[in-house]
Each structure stands twice: as structure tokens, then as C-alpha cells.
């Protein structure tokens, strides 16, 4: 009785079944933890009318790596749910912005912590929760708030995913994951929220028992498919950050 391996031979195979209209979560924050190779494969795979969930649509960093914005530019996206539809610096312009402003792609802007908590709630069977974030702002206009202990809170709902694309340092054949440093970010949370979690890993997939149970950052019960990232140039890896254009 040994658990079957979840390792899949190629990025293409790992995402072949994604249908039009799917909701896909993208882990990662800046370079670390972004599933560049799975995003690239999705650009080729071509599924349409997708809803994308992630921190930012991307495109502010140089060099540009595969990001949600590229899927938008490729005509595959109906809506993006994220914490940035524009860049932090007003002088940066995200490629996404023109698609959003022209109405070619819809967006839902969500504070980053609320986004993380809505994903966690989806994985944790919590349909809704209250948060102090965004109370009194434009984002709360017309929405339900409630006072607890004299403070006003906003009602927020779970955000379930059909698929999650994440990146980890290592995995065993069951999909128990370890992340390195800032690679962790949204990734284990996205995994709990998704029906199908697809992981790209830096290192060769390990046999069962190779990872200390106390040091698993995301249990394999949340992971469905694992693909090892090949070395450059075939595989995509985080690059050194270059000065941003101003």
C-alpha cells in the first residue's frame, strides 16, 4: 500500500483539462513563488473567459516574466480579482490598465489581506467573515457592514478556486510541499481554496518520507499535480531584479 505519485511529466499535461470559464488562482508575490512555467503553458493551452485571482496583474517589473496580465493580453480573460489593477507608483503603468479602462477585461479590486483571507475562508469552509479593512472607503460603498464591540466591520465572502497554480522549492510524490523564504506567500492558501492544485517545483520530486512531517508547509492533501521545473533556458526561474523604468 503506497500512495500514488502525483508527478506529471510536463506543464502542458498538468493543465490540459482547464476548461473555458474556469477560475484560476495564481500564487506568488513579486518574483518568488510565481508559477511562471504553468502560466506560460496556459498561454499556449488557450482556455478562454477565465477568471484570474492573484495579487497583481503584473508587468511592472523588469524583466517581465509570465504573469496574469499576459493572459489578459492574449485574450483569455473575462475578469481579474486582485489587489492591484494599477501599479503602486503612479509613474508605472501596468499593461493591464488599458484593458480594464477600455472594458475589454473586468476587474474586482480587493485589499491584499482580504484577498488572502477570502481564499483561506474558501479552503476552510467559512462562507463569510467580517473584517475592519476597507471600512469607510470607496470599496465599502453600498456594502453590508456591522458593528462589533463598537467598531465597524465589512462582510466579506469566501473566494473558491477551480485551479491554483503555485510554485514550491520541493515536493514529495504525495505533494507535501516546502517553500523557501518568500516563495511561500499566497501559495499554501491558494492550494487549500482550489479543487485542483498544480505545483511547479524547483527540485526533483522526493520519495515519500523524505520530508519531515513537522516541516511540511502545505499538506499533499491539497495538491493534485506536481511538475519539476527544468533548468534554464527550458524552464523559467526568478531573475535578478533590474531597476524599474521610471
Amino acid at each position: 500500500m503506497a500512495l500514488k505519485s502525483k508527478e506529471v511529466g510536463s506543464f502542458r499535461e498538468a493543465i490540459a483539462d482547464i476548461p473555458d470559464g474556469a477560475t484560476i488562482g495564481f500564487g506568488g508575490f513579486a518574483m518568488p513563488g510565481v508559477a511562471f512555467n504553468l502560466i506560460k503553458a496556459l498561454l499556449d493551452q488557450g482556455a478562454k473567459r477565465l477568471t484570474l485571482v492573484g495579487n497583481t496583474t503584473g508587468g511592472a517589473q523588469v524583466p517581465r516574466m509570465p504573469d496574469m496580465g499576459m493572459l489578459v493580453e492574449n485574450g483569455q480573460v473575462a475578469k481579474v480579482i486582485c489587489a492591484f489593477t494599477a501599479a503602486t507608483r503612479p509613474t508605472d503603468v501596468l499593461p493591464f490598465t488599458k484593458y480594464y479602462e477600455s472594458g475589454e477585461c473586468d476587474a474586482e479590486l480587493v485589499p491584499q489581506g482580504t484577498l488572502a483571507e477570502r481564499l483561506r475562508a474558501a479552503g476552510a469552509g467559512i462562507p463569510a467573515f467580517y473584517t475592519p479593512t476597507a471600512v469607510g472607503t470607496e470599496l465599502a460603498q453600498g456594502r453590508e457592514t456591522r458593528v462589533f464591540n463598537g467598531r465597524e466591520y465589512l462582510l466579506e465572502h469566501a473566494l473558491p478556486l477551480d485551479y491554483a497554480f503555485i510554485r514550491a522549492r520541493r515536493s514529495d510524490t504525495f505533494g507535501n510541499l516546502q517553500f523557501h523564504r518568500a516563495q511561500r506567500n499566497f501559495n499554501p492558501v491558494m492550494a487549500t481554496a482550489a479543487r485542483v492544485t498544480v505545483v511547479e517545483v524547483d527540485e526533483p520530486v522526493l520519495p515519500l518520507g523524505a520530508i519531515d512531517p513537522d516541516q511540511v508547509h502545505c499538506s499533499g492533501i491539497f495538491v493534485h499535480r506536481v511538475v519539476q521545473v527544468p533548468p534554464e533556458p527550458e524552464g523559467l526561474w526568478p531573475t535578478r531584479r533590474q531597476e524599474r523604468r521610471r
Binding site: P32, A83, A116, P132, V189, P238
Partner: protein, 225 residues
């Protein structure tokens, strides 16, 4: 901002805010000038930097060639870990923020009001914006410190009676460091507590929206060194 700008340099604005940090604090530094607080020498004062992507206890930017490409702060810079650091995932990182465990968050802003509202996520007429973790930090940190240039390029005040731009959070700002001085929003005005070298109270009043009051013990801005 060029050196031609009046008053403090960006680093001095950051230094002044960093002097507020107390022993044992958990501090979150936003992108831009706030990041420069980490350059300030605070001697024996002990605190922990938290970055919203889940890095607790990060240190200086890594030397070129020695970067860990999977270790970044909120601004995407390749930083280092200090001994005693730890890593959590995003939901836990914002649990730390929302749970009130951050002693001080330092952020940039377009505008701050007398009532302590501030705006930093959306420009006039913009569709959408860049919120990131700012709304969570603003609503939940124990202290919200704002660093911004005192006036716009058109010499219009950024300290205003009421924000014209969509706000990030209401009534939360504790302290404001500008190139003109150190200010506290009091609800009915801005209290000037420290004044930058080369500035006069009248000059500051002329470039500040709403009501400016002056501390009885008005001092020069505390500078490094």
C-alpha cells in the same frame, strides 16, 4: 524630488519617523521613502521588520551577487534575513496585521486630512488602483505613520482639511513626517511639533490645508548623527 526641494531630504524624513520606533516593536515599511527608515541608525533600539508577504525579521538589501532570489520585501527588493526571523504565508501575515500585532506601519500618501484620513491608492479619475496591503495596514496597525512631501509639484498642499482623493482608511494617521516638519493630525487641524531647518511657521501655514497649530514646545526636526 530633487535637492532643490525645501527642507529635509527624503532620508531625513525617513530618519525622523524611524526615531519614533521603540524597543520591541514590530514595524512594517511601505514601498518608497518609508523603506529608507531601515537605513537609520537607531543604536540599541530593538525591533522587527514585518513585510506583508510573510517575512518577519528581515534585514538590509542583499549585496549584488549575493541575493536570494526567493527572499524579497514588500517592494520586491532582495533583502536578507536577520537572526531570529521567521516566515509565514499570506493569510497568516495579514492575520498578524489585522490582529493588531503591528506596532507601526510607515506609508507614503498623496494626501492626509486633519481628521487623520489619508489617501494613497487611487489617483483622480483613475479606474481601479493599487491597494496592495495598504488598507489592511492602515485599518489595523497600532500606529500609522505617513511620510510624504509637503506639497505637490504645483505647490499645492498635501496636508488638507479633507481628502479629495478616495481614502485608504479613516481617522487612523498618528504622525506625519514631511520635508517641512513633523505633524500630528488632531481632528481639527494639524499640530506642528517639529520644524525643518530653513522653514518658517508662516511658510508652512501657507502651504498647509485646513488649520495649522503650533506646539508650545516647537522644536527643530530631530536629525541623525
Amino acid at each position: 524630488m530633487s535637492d532643490a526641494v525645501k527642507g529635509l531630504t527624503r532620508q531625513q524624513m525617513a530618519d525622523r519617523m524611524a526615531f519614533e520606533f521603540r524597543d520591541g516593536w514590530i514595524v512594517n515599511l511601505g514601498v518608497g521613502i518609508p523603506t529608507m527608515c531601515s537605513n537609520t541608525d537607531l543604536g540599541d533600539v530593538d525591533f522587527i521588520y514585518h513585510s506583508e508577504n510573510g517575512i518577519i525579521g528581515y534585514g538590509p538589501v542583499a549585496p549584488v551577487g549575493e541575493e536570494d532570489l526567493n527572499l524579497v520585501n514588500a517592494g520586491g527588493q532582495n533583502v536578507t534575513m536577520k537572526p531570529g526571523g521567521s516566515v509565514v504565508h499570506h493569510a497568516d501575515s495579514f492575520a498578524i496585521i489585522r490582529g493588531g500585532h503591528i506596532d507601526a506601519t510607515v506609508m507614503g500618501a498623496y494626501e492626509v486630512s486633519m481628521g487623520g484620513d489619508f489617501a494613497n491608492w487611487k489617483l483622480k479619475g483613475q479606474k481601479g488602483g493599487g491597494i496592495g496591503g495598504a488598507m489592511d495596514l492602515a485599518a489595523c496597525a497600532k500606529r500609522v505613520f505617513i511620510i510624504l512631501e509637503h506639497v505637490t509639484r504645483r505647490n499645492e498642499p498635501r496636508l488638507v482639511e479633507k481628502c479629495a482623493l478616495p481614502i485608504t482608511a479613516r481617522g487612523v494617521v498618528t504622525l506625519i513626517s514631511t520635508n517641512y516638519g513633523l505633524f500630528e493630525p488632531t481632528g481639527t487641524g494639524f499640530l506642528l511639533r517639529e520644524i525643518a531647518p530653513g522653514l518658517t511657521v508662516d511658510e508652512i501655514r501657507a502651504t498647509t490645508g485646513g488649520v495649522l497649530t503650533v506646539a508650545d514646545d516647537l522644536k527643530p526636526v530631530k536629525l541623525a548623527g
